[in-house]
Symmetry: D2
Subunit: 100 residues, 4 copies
């Protein structure tokens, strides 16, 4: 089962700037071989369910390992069984309709 | 690693009422032996990371198996390594402060 | 337009414990006259769109006023025009089906 | 108060494809004069709190007006009072750290 996910990991108790943790998570996701796209409020990723979930767990382990005592994460994720869909198609289906 | 999660599974392409799918997910979560608390916009659950994530996957499989071609799920989830925390403590820590 | 919302306000840069901010937000929501229900990962509220949104803004203003330099908030919210629905009905429709 | 938001509006009861509704929302956001960035699981936007919230309400009104009986929306949104921040800066602060 493929999943497209929007992942936003927020470390708490580490001060106001969290970009170093975002960088570390992005590194984890890349090392997991997942397709990723950073945006202004999270990272979109795409892959097999188990691979994606294993990477999310590694992000939490990594961020705790860097010293964050607490993490709150927000995820949106979509699966579909009627057809395959990629992150690029989700965007292009909107853009194509907008251009009509 | 323990996780406290707010899970909201939304089947798409099945009409406007989705309560039968919510019931089915709740059943899956109970069968997984997880502590759960239904609320008006999702279900809170608590348990070991792998157990919780396995149950979330089973919810997607169940809802697709019931005929939903597409699912969009929203999750908030928290982990902490400074101390153990339960769903009940999260609520009581707020209530206690409010009563002071 | 009525809205049912799940609101989770997370102050950043204030340390690991945030319950005093949750209490303050809950107070704001109550003073706004909104129906509220605290749960383990947020607060559900219900009311007219403009009233609910005004209260959410006041929560941000309040939490910044208490010293939080940064806030990240996660919201789920639902509107429907086919019929009125309350938070209680959302829960009871699930419970009723589960008991069949 | 400036806000950076990730907005994901999901119409329910309208079938499995929702891209026409996403296009309509994007149009509403553009007409509101907001800075927007479409991504694979939502749209990021940036602006003054009241302008952003007014546009979100118009999205719900528009999508209901197109025939969707029910909408569930997921929002992440951030405010900060320590300094101004834009969507571009959020991304570049991550990229810059990653390149070090």
């Amino acid at each position: 089962m493929k999943v497209i996910m929007d992942l936003c990991v927020v470390p708490m108790g580490v001060g106001v700037s969290v970009s170093e943790y975002v960088v570390a998570c992005h590194q984890v996701l890349k090392e997991a071989g997942l397709k990723t796209q950073l945006h202004a409020y999270g990272t979109n990723l795409e892959g097999e369910w188990d691979d994606v979930m294993a990477a999310v767990k590694k992000c939490h382990e990594k961020v705790h390992g860097m010293g964050a005592p607490r993490i709150t994460t927000t995820i949106k994720m979509g699966t579909r069984v009627d057809r395959l869909q990629t992150m690029e198609e989700k965007i292009s289906s909107v853009v194509d309709k907008a251009l009509k």
